[in-house]
C-alpha cells in the first residue's frame, strides 16, 4: 500500500494522468480510504485552479500603442 508521504509525491503525476494504471489504482485506493490525503489532493486541485485563473497584468499603454502602430503598419504593407 502507498503511504501518505508517497502519495503527496505522486499527486502531480496523478492529476496529469501520468501514472501507469497499476499506480493509478493504488493512488485511488489510498485516497478513497484516507481523509487527509483526499483533502491534500483537493487542495492541490484548488491550487492549480487558482493558478489557471490568476489575473494578468496588462501591457503598459505606451508599449501597447507602439505595438498597435506596428500592427497597423503591417496591415497596410
Amino acid at each position: 500500500m502507498l503511504t501518505c508521504e508517497q502519495l503527496t509525491g505522486l499527486v502531480t503525476d496523478y492529476i496529469e494522468g501520468w501514472l501507469p494504471m497499476r499506480q493509478r489504482f493504488r493512488f485511488r485506493l489510498h485516497v478513497a480510504l484516507c481523509r487527509s490525503c483526499r483533502r491534500y489532493l483537493r487542495q492541490m486541485r484548488l491550487t492549480i485552479g487558482a493558478l489557471n485563473g490568476l489575473p494578468r497584468q496588462p501591457l503598459p499603454p505606451a508599449k501597447e500603442q507602439e505595438l498597435m502602430h506596428r500592427f497597423r503598419a503591417w496591415q497596410r504593407a
Binding site: 501518505c4 502531480t12 492529476i15 491550487t47 489575473p55 500592427f71
Partner: protein, 233 residues
C-alpha cells in the same frame, strides 16, 4: 479603451471555466483558427487582446533568461514584432500561444547567452520513482509515512474563492517569483498559460522527467504557501 475590456472578459471566462485538471486543452482549436483569421484580417481588437493577454507571462519568462528589466521588455516587444511579421506564414501546426512563447524563449535565451545567463533545467536529482520529490517537509509524516501533521481545511470551496482574495493572489505571485527559474518557467507555461505538457517541453526544450519534477515542485510550493496563508492563526 476597448481592448482592455476585451482582455478582462477573456480572463473572466478563463477563470470560471476551469474545474478539470487539464483546463485549456479543449478550447484551443476552434478559437485558434478564428483568432488567426481575425489577426490576418488586421483585426486590431484581436491583436490588442492578444498582446495584453500574454504580456505578464512573457515578461516573467524573459526575465528568467535576462537579468535586466529593460532588456526583458525589449525581448517581449521584439517577440511581438516577430509574431506580426510571421503571422502570414504561420502554419498552425502549433497553438498560436505555443508559437509565441517559443519565439520569446528563443530570443530570451539568445540575449541571455550574451549576458552569460542560462537556466539550468537539467541538474535535477532523480530519486526513486515512488517518491521522486518530497512535496512537504518530512516532519509532516511519521516514520511509517502516514500523516503526523495532516493538512487542515482552508475554508475555501473553489479556485474562485481563492481568486477573490487579494492577499491570496499576492501570495501566489510572490511564491512564483521566489521559485527557481526553471520551476517558474514550467509553472507559468503549464498552469498560468495552459500549454499542454508537450508544448511546455517543446517551448523550453526540456525532457519529460524534468518537466514532471519541475511542475510538481512548483505546484507543491504554491500549495504550501496557500496552506500557510489559509491555516494561520
Amino acid at each position: 479603451m476597448l481592448p482592455r475590456v476585451l482582455t478582462r472578459r477573456l480572463d473572466t471566462r478563463r477563470g470560471s471555466s476551469d474545474q478539470s485538471s487539464a483546463p485549456h486543452a479543449a478550447r484551443v482549436s476552434g478559437d485558434e483558427t478564428q483568432l488567426l483569421s481575425r489577426l490576418l484580417a488586421g483585426d486590431e481588437a484581436a491583436f490588442a487582446a492578444l498582446i495584453n493577454r500574454y504580456y505578464a507571462s512573457m515578461l516573467r519568462l524573459a526575465r528568467l533568461f535576462v537579468a535586466d528589466l529593460d532588456v526583458a521588455e525589449e525581448v517581449v516587444q521584439d517577440t511581438w514584432l516577430a509574431v506580426i511579421n510571421g503571422l502570414a506564414s504561420f502554419e498552425g501546426r502549433a497553438a498560436i500561444k505555443t508559437w509565441i512563447f517559443r519565439i520569446l524563449v528563443n530570443r530570451a535565451k539568445t540575449r541571455g547567452m550574451r549576458e552569460a545567463r542560462s537556466i539550468n533545467f537539467s541538474s535535477l536529482t532523480t530519486g526513486s520513482k515512488e517518491n521522486a520529490t518530497p512535496a512537504l517537509d518530512a516532519d509532516r509524516f511519521s516514520a511509517s509515512g502516514a500523516w503526523h501533521d495532516p493538512p487542515r481545511g482552508w475554508g475555501v470551496d473553489s479556485p474562485e474563492d481563492i481568486l477573490q482574495r487579494k492577499e491570496a493572489l499576492q501570495l501566489i505571485e510572490q511564491e512564483i517569483a521566489t521559485l527557481p527559474p526553471s520551476q517558474q518557467a514550467v509553472i507559468t507555461l503549464r498552469d498560468l498559460e495552459g500549454l499542454t505538457s508537450d508544448e511546455v517541453r517543446n517551448v523550453l526544450g526540456i525532457s519529460e522527467t524534468n518537466q514532471r519534477v519541475l511542475l510538481h515542485r512548483a505546484r507543491s510550493a504554491v500549495r504550501r504557501a496557500l496552506e500557510k496563508h489559509f491555516t494561520k492563526g
